[in-house]
């Protein structure tokens, strides 16, 4: 007798194919992509976004505009004046090709949006803030989360202050911060606390931050902070004061403890980056933006009608049809550029990449060379309308724009200008896309 055959049912979840039709597609969900979305909302464009948000968690929350000029020894104090110098010394730099008024407007729109959505930032001012890093060095930046705002003023005035750290929190040492800041800030001290409810072992900032949404935990921490502060009126502590509405957590802790408090970023990936990621993931869909999260765009086709993106997730294929597209895919870490053994490529469209002649030219001999490395200046070249250039020196396609650190002729690391390039170029790209779309 033949054994009975078993017929397996058809897959119970048939692949569905989904199509999104919209005005603007944004590829990339880092600062540049999200800033583009904010500006496009302002223009009342409909849009869809796709990309993985891995790199965003690596930001500290500081929004740099321009903190260092090539070949100068000192940190930039007035970034607006420094932009004028940049325009002369590096005319091809993306920030040299954007009017300062537009840069300022872009920063203001972006930080206002963050503030409205629950993550207040310090106002965009004339001067850089000089703000401490987790190891006690000082970094110039333009705007920081309101929860970090008190730090620079306290440091400038030299007021008595205690940096608190926690048992089990790796890579954040109050003693290290104090040892490196003591020249500049003699009245800075440090104290180590056990985080409320912690039972020893490693303390994960993200979990600690979420636990501070609970009022009882805040009560306990406030009491500990009051004791640790002694006679000092202010305490700085690692950035873990809540995940959503950290300004309210801070306010409550200040009220309970009677102290001025400020956050200091921990080593990324860390809470301030996760806050930004979660804010965008929540707020943009509420404003009608279609986000396809954590999916890489597999294919991008451009024709006279627009851009056609193909993505896939576990449920099948997703197609996005848009009239214009902004490429904000970042550099090597985010996959916007690919370093092969012999050359640097842009993987999605194989756009020409301005780059050094060969791998032996990518890096200087010394890693921390203040001049930076040629590999960072590689990237996509755009025209005045932020359209990537094709091999013939003309725009690759009239409906394609690019923004963020994928752009060539800048070293965002050495010039402390990553957020500045992202926000300002996104503003310009959206401006040009809106013009193309007749908006």
């Amino acid at each position: 007798m033949m054994p009975p055959t078993i017929t397996l049912p058809e897959a119970s979840m048939p692949e569905e194919s989904r199509t999104i039709t919209t005005e603007l597609a944004i590829i990339g969900t880092g600062i540049a992509g999200f800033a583009a979305a904010v500006f496009a909302l302002e223009r009342k464009l409909t849009m869809a976004m796709a990309g993985s948000t891995g790199a965003l968690a690596y930001t500290t929350g500081y929004l740099d505009l321009l903190g260092k000029l090539q070949g100068t020894a000192h940190a930039v104090d007035d970034p607006w004046q420094a932009l004028e110098e940049l325009r002369r010394s590096e005319p091809e730099h993306p920030l040299s090709r954007i009017a300062p008024a537009a840069i300022e407007r872009a920063f203001t729109l972006f930080t206002d949006f963050l503030g409205r959505e629950g993550l207040a930032y310090t106002p965009v001012g004339r001067n850089n803030l000089q703000i401490m890093t987790p190891v006690g060095t000082v970094k110039p930046t333009l705007s920081v989360p309101a929860t970090m705002a008190a730090g620079p003023a306290l440091m400038a005035s030299g007021s008595p202050c205690v940096i608190v750290d926690f048992h089990g929190l790796k890579g954040f040492s109050g003693r290290q911060a104090v040892a490196n800041l003591s020249q500049r800030w003699p009245q800075l001290e440090t104290a180590r606390l056990a985080f409320p409810g912690s039972r020893g072992g490693e303390l994960y900032p993200e979990i600690a931050a979420r636990s501070l949404q609970v009022p009882e935990i805040r009560q306990q921490l406030a009491e500990m902070l009051r004791q640790a502060a002694g006679t000092a009126p202010a305490v700085g502590l690692p950035a873990l004061l809540g995940m959503h509405r950290p300004d309210l957590v801070l306010e409550d802790l200040q009220r309970l403890s009677g102290l001025t408090l400020f956050e200091v970023p921990t080593m990324p990936p860390a809470v301030p980056g996760i806050r930004l990621r979660e804010l965008f993931a929540r707020a943009l869909p509420q404003h009608g933006v279609a986000i396809v999260p954590q999916q890489k765009v597999q294919h991008l086709r451009l024709d006279e009608n627009g851009a056609h993106l193909t993505l896939g997730d576990n449920y099948g294929t997703i197609a996005i049809h848009a009239k214009a597209v902004i490429l904000a895919t970042g550099r090597f870490l985010s996959g916007g550029l690919e370093a092969r053994r012999d050359t640097i490529r842009e993987p999605l469209l194989d756009l020409p990449v301005a780059q050094p002649s060969g791998r032996s030219q990518w890096y200087e001999e010394r890693y921390t060379d203040p001049r930076g490395h040629a590999i960072h200046r590689a990237g996509i070249v755009v025209d005045q309308a932020f359209r990537p250039l094709g091999g013939d020196g003309h725009p690759f396609h009239p409906r394609l724009f690019a923004a963020g650190i994928i752009l060539a002729h800048q070293d965002w690391i050495r010039s402390r200008s990553g957020a500045g390039i992202a926000i300002a170029s996104a503003y310009r790209a959206v401006d040009e896309a809106a013009r193309l779309l007749g908006r």
């Binding site: 040492s173 032996s360 060379d369």
Partner: protein, 537 residues
């Protein structure tokens, strides 16, 4: 002969130390001599201008040769390797992984050479077992489909850093012998037929020191010729060959894999714990100090290596490193690979000196034998009649020496399971307790160790992130425990990253380019290590 107690601050500002024997050079030969002498009851001071295994001792495959590699061009060396390899497996098993080795030929390789190979091995008494290519590929699935011949030999791997640390620790325990890292010879003061005092410079704190010894041993490896010249001796003649090797992200083969042909570029792949090491190139050089791997050397290794294991062309590499090998200047013709790989012991008596000798050349596998020969001469000159015991006495296990072993840290950490003992290097699972033990008790510990010195004594920074994260965590931890107290800790951190980068620069592509970009964004963009000096002003 009584052991002389070292005495510091003898005269004026200059620290003066006295000992029976001064050994110059902290490679495996120098540390081997230190221990050999201690076992004979002789006190020594060992100095190195950098740190342990900073030269060729730490810059090789870590291959404990069965000798098969040398059967075609140097039968004596082959036999020496066979004897010494077997001895070390017995006496220093904790520094060795007895993984076995394969010799493989692919289509196009010299068939006559391959066919002759077993007979040559037999002449040197080296076990050589023929393997059908299909069986070899079963043992090592990454081997090329174009394999035509394969043999199995008793190759193994050895951790030169652990070996060096254990030798120093044992000599210190036996005789109170001392090791001074970062201590460089400046000049020799001769009195008649003797070197009376050796003037040195402590590079860390920029202070002079003088060492008086009855005997002085030059175990300077590639630097031996320069050191001998400082002593007025022109009878050490070396050629320098720069070799570059690559470290893969993964362990790609469980055996040592040798190309079955005359020794050439990129023809050995050696497992090293969780990674594999591919090499080497061979390039004549005059420059002993600047030995950075180049992109060209990386490409040569990959091209040659991928003939044996095609996936080497696609593999992720985390590091490259170069070192200069000393080759004894050959009398006749021949390339560097044919130059004598044996060693030389020079007594300098023709140069009018009775208490100075130089030992150089040779290879990692035969370091014990080299140390024995040098120590025999030194002991004889000192009138010490105790015979060598390193061929009998097992090498001890030192607790503070154990952290260099790949894959061992998590085991120790888990076994001891101390509450609050956090992992600082997440790639290699190096816990706080390892850092504590190293700064408290490791051989060559200094008043304020840099991160490089700690990394040399552990696995910290050896994983895919190459120290870019754990360097930050270890530095914070050292501030935390009050070991670093001022901005010098950040300078240590920067020096560590700059040092690690020398080995990364030529292999940054693919996944490593992403890793590097993230690291630099943190180190420079956020922490400002690129402007540290400017900050100070």
């Amino acid at each position: 002969m009584q052991p002389v107690t070292p005495r510091a601050n003898g005269s004026g500002q200059e620290a003066v130390f006295e000992t029976e024997v001064l050994i110059i050079g902290g490679g495996v030969t120098g540390v081997g001599i230190m221990r050999d002498l201690a076992l004979r009851g002789i006190h020594a001071i060992l100095i190195d201008k950098r740190d342990l295994c900073a030269g060729a001792s730490g810059g090789n495959h870590g291959l404990l040769h069965s000798g098969a590699r040398y059967v075609s061009n140097d039968l004596d060396s082959a036999r020496e390797c066979r004897r010494e390899g077997a001895l070390l497996k017995r006496l220093a098993g904790h520094c060795i992984e007895d993984c076995g080795g394969l010799f493989v030929a692919v289509e196009g390789d010299d068939e006559a050479f391959a066919t002759n190979f077993p007979a040559l091995c037999a002449q040197a008494d080296i076990l050589c077992e023929p393997l059908a290519p299909a069986l070899a590929r079963e043992l090592e699935p990454h081997l090329s489909e174009r394999l035509v011949q394969a043999y199995r030999v008793p190759d193994a791997t050895v951790d030169p850093f652990r070996l060096a640390l254990e030798n120093v620790a044992h000599a210190s325990a036996l005789m109170g012998s001392l090791y001074f890292p970062h201590t460089e010879v400046v000049s020799f003061a001769r009195q008649g037929d003797r070197i009376a005092t050796v003037f040195c410079h402590d590079r860390r704190n920029d202070r002079p020191l003088a060492i008086r010894a009855l005997q002085v041993v030059n175990a300077g490896g590639a630097w031996a010729m320069n050191i001998a010249r400082l002593a007025g001796c022109d009878d050490v003649r070396l050629l320098y060959s720069k070799g570059t090797l690559l470290v893969t992200h993964d362990r790609l083969a469980s055996h040592v894999v040798n190309r079955l042909r005359r020794p050439g570029d990129g023809d050995i792949l050696v497992p090293g714990g969780t990674v594999s090491i591919l090499g080497t190139t061979s390039l004549r050089t005059d420059d002993l100090e600047s030995t950075r791997p180049t992109v060209e050397e990386v490409e040569v290794n990959i091209r040659e290596g991928s003939a044996m294991l095609p996936m080497l062309a696609e593999a992720r590499y985390i590091r490259a490193f170069s070192r200069v090998r000393p080759l004894l200047q050959p009398a006749g013709r021949g390339g560097d690979r044919d130059a004598a790989r044996g060693f030389a012991l020079i007594d300098h008596e023709e140069q009018g000196l009775s208490n100075f000798c130089t030992i150089t050349g040779g290879k990692l596998t035969t370091f014990r034998l080299m140390a024995e020969k040098a120590s025999d001469l030194v002991a004889k000159r000192l009138g010490n009649t105790t015979s060598c015991r390193t061929a009998l006495e097992p090498l001890p296990h030192g607790s503070a020496c154990r952290w260099t072993e790949p894959g061992a840290s998590p085991r120790y950490w888990f076994k001891e399971s101390k509450p609050g003992d956090m992992i600082l290097c997440e790639c290699e699972m190096v816990p706080q307790s390892a850092i504590d033990e190293i700064v408290d008790a490791a051989p060559g510990k200094e008043e304020q160790m840099g991160l490089e010195a700690i990394a040399l004594r552990s696995r910290a920074g050896k994983g895919p992130c190459q120290g870019s994260f754990c360097g930050i965590r270890i530095c914070s931890y050292l501030y935390d425990r009050g070991y670093y107290r001022d901005p010098s800790g950040l300078h240590h951190m920067r020096r560590f990253f700059d040092e690690r980068f020398k080995g990364q620069r030529a292999v940054v592509w693919g996944g490593q380019a992403a890793q590097m970009e993230l690291a630099e964004a943190l180190h420079c963009g956020l922490l400002g290590l690129d402007t540290l000096d400017m900050e100070d002003r």
